[in-house]
């Protein structure tokens, strides 16, 4: 009789291993999850990444410093300007460049615009993950307007490559401030409508409340960052704790939730969009006249040494570590993407939950595979 009893945790005949991905509607890119299911319950999950591995770190290390900026566009393609900022800061630190004040404000404005665009993607795809298709399209409608604005400034919609070591590639076009303000007015109104449509929806609430809880201790031990960390009640925002560029001169609240569940992470992101709008307005108002581009050495050969920058990308801590040996090319460019870390938490988070919850948890981590695989 005992021989028939399966050991606890061992696979039984009712187990089923399914592959979610690499082609699957909910994996947001080429991610593969090998999931062992017991009926509707997840017994274990092993993410398989690397389908998008391009060796970007090595490619950047094989080129002069300033040429590595366009590669960072391809890291987190939903928020390319934030990646541009991270590498630019690292290069500025290793080469000792100064950034003019106006450029700092322009950078912050661009990054926050991109943060809104990125969070809108999260909003839309998360709604689609939970099953609400209409909210998805509404979010993309607003994002489209925002991308038009980015296009008017930088000439590209996704891979902007406009924040460079030493400043910003160009100043704003004429009448840009008014256009951005007009967008923000409409956007905040739309955001309230989305709140009514999705946040207030009881079905959305029961699907996300109490699902995928990350305790603050676990979030820290795993190195979670950004909205995932702040959704767990840890008040760490690098724009505050290690301020850079014009952030020390802007006022904004850091949204914080203590529940640590999917809903908390969602609400943090939605509130961050409002705060980003606030920061953009302040930037436009307080931006001083001046240069958008600092003084730059013609040949860039930083002294041997190391430098790193930590920035708050929409997904969390995006940091770049540069190692120089005094030549024109870096020895090592290390990109620490928040999505990579968040995805590594997934197996622990989804153990024992239902398939549908697994999708909700994966969506709430908001990973971008371009950054995971690099």
């Amino acid at each position: 009789m005992t021989a028939m009893q399966p050991a606890v945790g061992a696979s039984t005949s009712s187990d089923m291993t399914i592959n979610l991905g690499p082609q699957h509607p909910s994996t947001h890119g080429v991610l593969r999850l090998m999931v062992a299911l017991d009926g509707e319950y997840v017994k274990s999950c092993r993410p398989v990444v690397g389908y998008l591995h391009r060796g970007l770190e090595r490619m950047m290390a094989a080129r002069p410093y300033r040429q590595s900026v366009p590669f960072t566009d391809r890291l987190d393609y939903c928020a390319s300007l934030n990646s541009n900022l991270a590498i630019s800061q690292a290069i500025e630190r290793i080469g000792g460049m100064a950034v003019p004040e106006r450029a700092q404000y322009l950078r912050v404005m661009l990054c926050e615009m991109n943060r809104i665009a990125s969070h809108l993607i999260f909003f839309g795809t998360y709604a689609a993950d939970i099953g609400a298709t209409t909210a998805f399209l509404y979010a993309f409608r607003e994002r489209e307007r925002l991308l038009d604005l980015l296009e008017a400034y930088t000439g590209a919609r996704l891979t902007c490559n406009w924040i460079r070591p030493g400043g910003v590639a160009s100043d704003m076009p004429e009448g840009y401030a008014q256009a951005v303000c007009a967008f923000l007015d409409g956007f905040l109104k739309e955001l309230d409508a989305y709140d009514t449509l999705l946040t207030g929806n009881p079905i959305f609430r029961v699907r996300t409340e109490g699902v995928g809880i990350i305790s603050p201790e676990k979030a820290i031990a795993y190195g979670a960052s950004g909205p995932v960390l702040r959704g767990s009640g840890v008040n760490i925002d690098l724009r505050r704790t290690e301020p850079y560029d014009a952030y020390p001169r802007t006022q904004f609240d850091v949204p914080l939730r203590t529940e640590g569940d999917c809903l908390a992470r969602y609400l943090v992101r939605v509130e961050e969009m409002r705060q980003s709008a606030r920061i953009i307005r302040q930037c436009l108002r307080e931006m001083p006249e001046g240069e958008h581009w600092g003084k730059q050495p013609k040949v860039f050969r930083p002294a041997a040494g190391e430098a790193y920058s930590r920035t708050e990308s929409p997904r969390g801590e995006l940091s770049i570590y540069l190692v120089s040996d005094g030549t024109a090319n870096p020895v090592r460019v290390r990109v620490r993407g928040p999505s990579f870390v968040h995805l590594s938490m997934l197996p622990e988070l989804v153990r024992g939950v239902k398939v549908a919850d697994m999708i909700a948890i994966l969506g709430s981590l908001d990973t971008v595979l371009g950054e995971v695989d690099r």
Binding site: Q67, P70, D148, E151, T159, T196, L197
Partner: protein, 187 residues
């Protein structure tokens, strides 16, 4: 009681959501762009396909073949061969392999002669890899004709320069000969 209240709240919030979708159904302007028939107005800063602007006054494309753009390119898209020399220099081959291009704008910023631009043309997809290899005939504003005219302008300028140089040399030689003669006379 609590159950009924929360149920009623949930019911009302679903109705609110339905009101929003209904308002979008009847009231909002639709945002679809029927693409092949309607085309978006992209911003003038759009980073689309490249071209080498043709300077009508000078009768040539601006490029002098200094390879600054090729050096600035992170992916080695640009190759060129120089034509002419000194002040009268241009390129007779300028090839961009768009299959590797990131449209990062670095080449345009690197150019001190305003010789390479990006246009607002954005439909770059094709079923043929060969199409992404842009030769100078496709890149120059005005096509092969512009390239031909540039070549003629440069050649003419070079000839002129050579002639001027020859004339100067001849004059110099003459002057030298004259001086020699004078010297000889002196002697």
């Amino acid at each position: 009681m609590r159950l009924i209240v929360s149920f009623a709240q949930g019911f009302v919030s679903i109705l609110k959501g339905m009101a929003i979708t209904f308002l979008n159904l009847v009231g909002r302007r639709k945002i679809t762009l029927q693409y092949p028939y309607q085309r978006p107005n992209v911003s003038p800063r759009w980073r689309g396909i490249f071209y080498l602007p043709y300077n009508d006054e000078a009768g040539r494309i601006n490029c002098v073949g200094c390879t600054l753009c090729a050096q600035a390119c992170p992916t080695g898209v640009i190759t060129m061969t120089k034509m002419g020399a000194g002040k009268h220099a241009s390129v007779n081959a300028f090839t961009m392999d768009l299959g590797r291009c990131m449209f990062c704008n670095l080449c345009i910023e690197a150019c001190p002669f305003d010789a390479i631009h990006m246009s607002t043309r954005f439909e770059l997809a094709s079923v043929d890899r060969g199409v992404s290899l842009l030769t100078i005939d496709k890149l120059a504003q005005g096509g092969a004709d512009a390239v031909e005219r540039t070549k003629r302008t440069i050649e003419a300028a070079l000839e002129q320069e050579a002639a001027a140089k020859a004339a100067a040399a001849a004059a110099k030689a003459q002057a030298a000969a004259g001086a020699q003669a004078a010297e000889g006379a002196d002697a």
